[in-house]
C-alpha cells in the first residue's frame, strides 16, 4: 500500500496544500483509500466519509477564496471515540453508549474543527479508556500495524497498546496524518511507544475536558498522536486553550509550540530517575534509555542522575484513584437518558441489568474496585491514603525539577505484546508503570519513537517536564527524534 499523500507529515501536507500541490479533498480521499487494505486493523468505530469530504471541500473553498486558514486547514485526522461529536455517534468504546448521538461538540473536536482539520472518523479505544491494549472495546480489538520480524511473536497480531489504540494504529499505518488521544495513566504515550509514533500528554489543565467522556476527572488529558515531534507541536497548538466550561482548565496562554522545537538542548539539565526500571524489563530497553541519554549529552545537555523515591507506589495509587473517580463518573450510564437500556421489573433491576450488560468486564472490575475503596470503612485506608501518597509523588517531582529541566525515561517496560497474550489484571496494569507517575502529578509527558527491539518492534522514550513547560519537552523530544533517526516503515496492508 503506497500512497504518496498519506506518507506526508502534517507539516509537509500543510506546505503542499499551501503550495497548491494537491487539495484537501485529494489528501482526504487518499486517506480513505487506505481503509480497504487495512480492514484488519479495525481502526474506526464510526467512519465519517461524507463529513470528511464535506470538510475537505470547505477547506479547499476557503483556500481558493483566500480566506483566513486555521493551523491545520485541510489536514485529515482521526478522532478518538471518547470525544463527543455533534450528530455523530460517540461510544467511548462501550456497549452502554451504543447509538448515543451527542447534541454537542466537545471543546477539543471543536478546536480542531476551528483549526480547519478534517475528521475521518471516530477511532477505536478501550472501553471508557480503561485498558492498555485496545482489547476491552465492545467494538472489537484494534490491531497494531507492526509485526515482529523474529522471535516467538513473529507474524502474530499485536496489540497497539491502549487505550488510544485506534488512533495510534491509524497514525502508524498512515491512514491519517494525526489523531487525538486521551491519556489518563498512559493511554497516549504507551500506544505511541507500541506503534512507533509520537504521543504527547499535555499538562493537566492545558486541554479542555468538556465534552470528552470522563474516565478519571483528575487525570484525564487530551493530546495529539502524530508521526513527528513537529506535528505534535502543531496539533497541540490547535487543541489547547483555556475553556471556561471546564473548571479545571488552566487560564494560561497557549504558546507557539512549533516555534521553539529546533532550539536544541544545549545547557539543559536532563534527569535520569533511577527508579524507572521494572522487574523483567528487557535489557534492550535499558540500553535504549542509555543511548537516549547519550544523544542528549552529545547535543549539549547535562545528564544528571536523580531519584523519585515514591515511584513504585504510583501504579497502586493510580489503581485506587482512577477507579474511585470512574465509579462515580460512570454512574450516569443508567439506561434513562441515553445509550443502552435493559428492562427490569423495577428501577433498580433496570439499572443493574443495563449496567451488567452495558459495561464490559474490565469496566465492571474498575467500577467495583472504585466503589469498594470509597465505601464506608475503607475510604481512609484506600482512597485517602492513595491521595496522600499522590501528594508524595507530586512532591518528588517538584523537588527534582528544582534541579533539572526535563526527565528522560522509557515509555513502557516492553514492546507491543500479542493480542492473545493472557494477562491477569495487575500484569496488564504494569504496562503503565512509567507513564502513571507524571499523570498523577499532572505533568506533561511525551513518547518519542527511539529504536527497535531485537525482534524489530518499536520502542519509545518518554520525556517528562515541569507543569506547562511543554516547550522544553518538545525541544528535547526533537533532539531524540533527530538522533534516533527512527524510520516508520510503510504499512503493507492487512485485509480483514
Amino acid at each position: 500500500m503506497s500512497n504518496t499523500l498519506t506518507q506526508l507529515t502534517i507539516a509537509q501536507a500543510r506546505d503542499g496544500l499551501s503550495n497548491g500541490d494537491f487539495s484537501a479533498t485529494e489528501l482526504t480521499q487518499s486517506c480513505m483509500d487506505t481503509y480497504g487494505a487495512a480492514r484488519k486493523l479495525n481502526i474506526y468505530i464510526t467512519e465519517t466519509p461524507e463529513l470528511a469530504l464535506e470538510q475537505a471541500a470547505a477547506s479547499d473553498a476557503r483556500r481558493a477564496k483566500g480566506e483566513a486558514l486555521g493551523s491545520m486547514d485541510g489536514i485529515p485526522i482521526a478522532m478518538k471515540d471518547l470525544f463527543c461529536t455533534d450528530g455523530i455517534q460517540s461510544t467511548a468504546g462501550s456497549h452502554i453508549l451504543e447509538g448515543f448521538v451527542p447534541q454537542y461538540e466537545s471543546t477539543i473536536s471543536q478546536n480542531l474543527k476551528d483549526a480547519g482539520s478534517v475528521m475521518l472518523g471516530k477511532s477505536n479505544m478501550d472501553e471508557f479508556a480503561m485498558g492498555s491494549a485496545t482489547t476491552t472495546s465492545y467494538y472489537g480489538n484494534t490491531v497494531n500495524p507492526w509485526q515482529a520480524a523474529s522471535g516467538p511473536d513473529a507474524g502474530k497480531d499485536l496489540a497497539p497498546g491502549g487505550s488510544s489504540g485506534g488512533s495510534a494504529s491509524a497514525v502508524a499505518a498512515r491512514m491519517c496524518l494525526g489523531a487525538t488521544g486521551t491519556d489518563t495513566g498512559g493511554s497516549i504515550r504507551q500506544p505511541a511507544s507500541f506503534t512507533g509514533i509520537v504521543g504527547l500528554k499535555p499538562t493537566y489543565g492545558r486541554c479542555s475536558r468538556w465534552g470528552c467522556v470522563a474516565f478519571a476527572s483528575s487525570l484525564d488529558q487530551a493530546g495529539p498522536m502524530t508521526r513527528t515531534v513537529r506535528d505534535a507541536a502543531i496539533m497541540l497548538g490547535a487543541m489547547a486553550g483555556h475553556d471556561v466550561k471546564d473548571s479545571t482548565s488552566t487560564p494560561i496562554e497557549t504558546p507557539d509550540f512549533e516555534a521553539v522545537i529546533d532550539q536544541g538542548v544545549k545547557g539543559l539539565r536532563v534527569g535520569i530517575p533511577k527508579e524507572y526500571t521494572a522487574e523483567g524489563m528487557p535489557e534492550e530497553i535499558t540500553s535504549l534509555w542509555q543511548r537516549g541519554a547519550g544523544w542528549l549529552r552529545e547535543a549539549g545537555a547535562e545528564i544528571v542522575d536523580v531519584s523519585l523515591p515514591h515511584t513504585k507506589y504510583a501504579l497502586p495509587t493510580y489503581y485506587i484513584v482512577a477507579p474511585a473517580e470512574a465509579s462515580s463518573n460512570l454512574a450516569r450510564y443508567d439506561g434513562v437518558r441515553y445509550g443502552l437500556r435493559v428492562e427490569g421489573n423495577s428501577l433498580d433491576e433496570m439499572y443493574m441489568n443495563t449496567r451488567a450488560e452495558g459495561f464490559g468486564e474490565e469496566v465492571q472490575r474498575r467500577v467495583l474496585i472504585g466503589t469498594y475503596v470509597l465505601s464506608a470503612g475503607y475510604y481512609d485506608a484506600y482512597y485517602l491514603q492513595a491521595q496522600k501518597v499522590r501528594t508524595r509523588i507530586a512532591e518528588d517531582f517538584t523537588k527534582v525539577f528544582e534541579d533539572v529541566d526535563v526527565l528522560l525515561t522509557p515509555t513502557a517496560p516492553s514492546p507491543a505484546f500479542t493480542l492473545d497474550a493472557k494477562m491477569d489484571p495487575v500484569t496488564m496494569y504494569l504496562n503503565d508503570i512509567f507513564t502513571v507517575p507524571a499523570s498523577l502529578a499532572g505533568l506533561p509527558g511525551i513518547s518519542v519513537p527511539a529504536g527497535l527491539s531485537q525482534h524489530g518492534l518499536p520502542l519509545g522514550l518518554q520525556l517528562i517536564a515541569k507543569p506547562y513547560d511543554e516547550l522544553t519537552m518538545l525541544r528535547t523530544a526533537e533532539v531524540i527524534e533527530r538522533f534516533a533517526g527512527f524510520d516508520l516503515p510503510v504499512f503493507s496492508g492487512r485485509e480483514a
Binding site: Y104, T250, M350, L368, I369, Y372, A394
Partner: protein, 95 residues
C-alpha cells in the same frame, strides 16, 4: 484482607451492576488480587501529608449568575429511552 461473597454482592448493588451468583467467587478473587497489590501503599509514611484533591493549585473559577442555557428539551431528550410528553420515563417506582 480478603473479600467475601457478601461484600462483593453489597458493592455490586451499590454500583448497580448485576452480578450473577456464579460469578461472585471469580470477581471476589480478582478484586482481592488488586486489593492485595495496592495494599503496599500502607507502607508509605503519610503523617501530616495533605491528600491531593486537585492537581492544580488554582481555585474554582466562577460563573456570573445569568441564564445562558436550557430551553433545549429536544436536545436533552434526543437520546432518551421511552420518553413521553417531554418526560423521561423509568420503571414505576414505589416509595
Amino acid at each position: 484482607m480478603s473479600l467475601d461473597r457478601e461484600t462483593v454482592r453489597r458493592i455490586a448493588y451499590l454500583a448497580r451492576i448485576r452480578v450473577d451468583e456464579d460469578r461472585l467467587d471469580k470477581i471476589a478473587g480478582e478484586l482481592d488480587g488488586i486489593l492485595d497489590w495496592v495494599e503496599q501503599l500502607s507502607e508509605v509514611d503519610t503523617d501530616g501529608v495533605e491528600p491531593m484533591t486537585s492537581v492544580t493549585e488554582l481555585t474554582s473559577p466562577h460563573r456570573v449568575d445569568v441564564v445562558t442555557d436550557g430551553q433545549c428539551p429536544d436536545k436533552v431528550l434526543a437520546n432518551g429511552f421511552d420518553t413521553f410528553d417531554g418526560f423521561f420515563t423509568v420503571p414505576k417506582v414505589v416509595e
